[in-house]
Amino acid sequence: AAETVKIGVFEPASGDNGAGGKQETLGIQYANSVAPTVEIGGTEYNVELVVVDNESSAEKAPTAASQLVSEGVSVVLGTYGSGAAIAAAPTFEQAGVPAIGVTCTNPQVTEGNDHYFRICFLDPFQGTVLANFAADNFEAKKAYVLTKLGDDYSAGLGFYFSEAFQGLGGEVIQDTFPEGNADFTSYITTAINEGADVIFAPTSTEAAQLIIDTAASQGAEMPLLAGDTWDSNVILSAAEGKNIQVYVTTFYQEGGNEEFDSGIKEWINADSTNLANNGGNDTVAAVTAMGYDAYFTALEALKNAGSTDPAAVTEALPSTTCTGVTGAIAFDDVNGDAIRDTAYVKVANTETAQWDFVAEQGVN
């Protein structure tokens, strides 16, 4: 095909969310290798990915977004981490380019914004799921909620969890840790001293590793709960061989789609850069699967629009549906959020260093 359609990949490759952003990008890139062309309005188009690094920062996001717009992309995918998405939204809106959020779970990304859609569930949902899970499975009465100071993802998810958990009659102890904190002994000690039944720590993987390590070495016996960010092989290797229970909610469970799993594993293993970006092994992260689905959702939208014009794609998106590896994707007509009512709960198997499926959990 001679024609080209550009899809923008607006993801962090550096900064706090660099690791997650790269895994998400991998999913998109793999999808692109699976379906390098798309037929729009009867013409075959090559799909070209335009990748920019938003550095996980609200301050750098506008230039990164403008860069995509200037390159003439028809639709944008991303981003991991809500802050950068929110900061870039006006740029996309002004340029009339639609964006599909992959794993930005903060409600404010799409709220009141016609151009931002997303395929993941939201923090209120995720927080509630986890609170229910804690109450149902562990009969937890007291939760220790540890969030990162100044991190809206962390604070938001912590907030929704606390609300739901208190709604279920539980008690919550709130704590925050500052940026760059490495020593979590004091926090875990507080959790133990307070007699918490579960620890809920919606944080980046970086802190997660340290939290897991400290919890194990301080002999904390209560389970550790976290949101989608912890669904990463980094967590698995941190938990490996330790006496600790780590539960996460997530979008995808490896093994959910054999074909996808084996395909992407092969693809990752074939290229050292990809392997490095995936953290040196071929475990499939949920965000990767989400990236994969986002790409196909975008292709569907392009097909529906019958044109590469961003405006047409925006028009077409609300009614676009797609069956992805993480489930069926459709957008609600309030904000353009994904219609999803279940999340997967997984536990880290400390012997095999794999995720074990626990349950599908809804809000009720």
Binding site: Q67, G83, G150, F159
Partner: protein
């Protein structure tokens, strides 16, 4: 005579620049990267000049700039979010406690005033400190301010760790250019006033300055407050530019970045700070982006190119500038028509007696 002519020519040049920008704006799509870089560049110019006023002209080594920008940004955002949008912004805090909003310019003014007021308070204890001790104390204050703004208890005002948004922002480049231009012009006026000379005297020798009857405490505080005022306004503009803010943005890394700009531009050179700001932003966020993308020319895969390479190259460029242009691009000179003429005469004309 010569001086007046210079001022006129400089003013004309500035007008021409403004015209170019307005034309660019007409020609390019509103979200073009060039325009975005221009917007950010001029905001950074303002902040860099404000830092230069302190570090370069008064010799007060302060690393609190990000803190004052944070205050400015929050002041602007908190005060200008429309009342009906507050419920959704302050979603975790039941709409917040502030239930009014002020116009844009009042908001920007408030940014500056609040930052200056904080500076005044902070200045009382810390301005007695010398050089590096002052630096670390101001850096510390910036961190403390950040922790405060993230504090849950203040959430109804600051929205805690969550972002503020939905306040009025700008879309055209002309707006930040005009605001920053006026602010920088005011700072230039200060620098060239009698007070500016006093600042420079303090920089050169505090004891001698005091012996000349210059009240150190008063003048240092003055410089600190002026600098913070404009850093605050810069913060407010940055908030507008980003259209959402979060205290996390204003980390000490931001201060270092501004300091880099100031030194690369030349300590004690206003135009140096401005030029360096644009170059810095354009380089780090625009021109070098291609380095992040794996590229194949034919079958040949260009080595090294992948995510992160841009930043490596960028840091090398910075190091090179620092090492080879020790006094920055402009040194302590200013960009002027006269200067250019002299430069060319020196380069291409016959070598006359060179004066230092």
């Amino acid at each position: 005579m010569g001086k007046k002519k210079n001022i006129i020519i400089s003013a004309l040049l500035l007008l021409a620049l403004l015209a170019v920008i307005m034309i660019l704006e007409q020609r390019l799509p509103a979200t073009h990267i060039a325009l975005t870089v221009l917007k950010k560049g001029c905001i950074y110019s303002l902040v860099a000049v404000s830092m230069n006023l302190l570090n370069g002209f008064t010799g007060l080594f302060s690393l609190g700039q990000a803190g004052f920008m944070l205050i400015g940004a929050y002041a602007y955002a908190v005060l200008t979010i429309p009342v009906d949008a507050r419920a959704s912004v302050y979603q975790y805090f039941h709409g917040g406690v502030i239930q009014f909003s002020v116009p844009v310019f009042a908001g920007l003014l408030a940014s500056g005033i609040l930052a200056a007021a904080f500076a005044w308070l902070i200045g009382l204890p810390v301005l007695r400190l010398k050089s590096d001790y002052l630096a670390i104390a101001t850096l510390g204050f910036a961190e403390i301010i950040r922790a405060f703004f993230q504090w849950d208890v203040l959430g109804p005002i600051t929205n805690g760790s969550n972002m503020l948004r939905k306040y009025p922002s700008f879309t055209s480049v002309t707006f930040p250019f005009l605001v920053c231009g006026v602010c920088i012009a005011v700072m230039v006026l200060v620098i060239h006033s009698s007070y500016g000379r006093a600042f420079k005297a303090i920089r050169d020798d505090e004891i001698a300055a005091e012996a000349m009857g210059i009240n150190l405490a008063k003048h240092k505080r003055m410089a600190f407050c002026i600098s913070s005022f404009f850093a605050g306004v810069g913060g407010g503009l940055l908030a507008m530019y980003q259209s959402s803010i979060q205290s996390q943005t204003f980390k000490s890394a931001m201060t270092y970045e501004i300091l880099l700009i100031v030194v690369i531009g030349g300590l004690g050179s206003v135009t140096g700070s401005c030029i360096a700001s644009f170059l810095f932003i354009a380089c780090s966020e625009w021109w070098l982006r291609f380095l992040d993308v794996e590229t194949k020319i034919g079958d040949f895969k260009v080595p090294f190119l992948r995510a992160g390479f841009r930043k490596v190259v960028f840091s090398v460029i910075i190091m090179a500038i620092v090492l080879f242009a020790r006094k920055g691009i402009m040194g302590s000179r200013e960009f002027s028509v006269d200067g250019i003429c002299k430069f060319f005469k020196k380069r291409f004309g016959r070598k006359k007696e060179v004066k230092l």
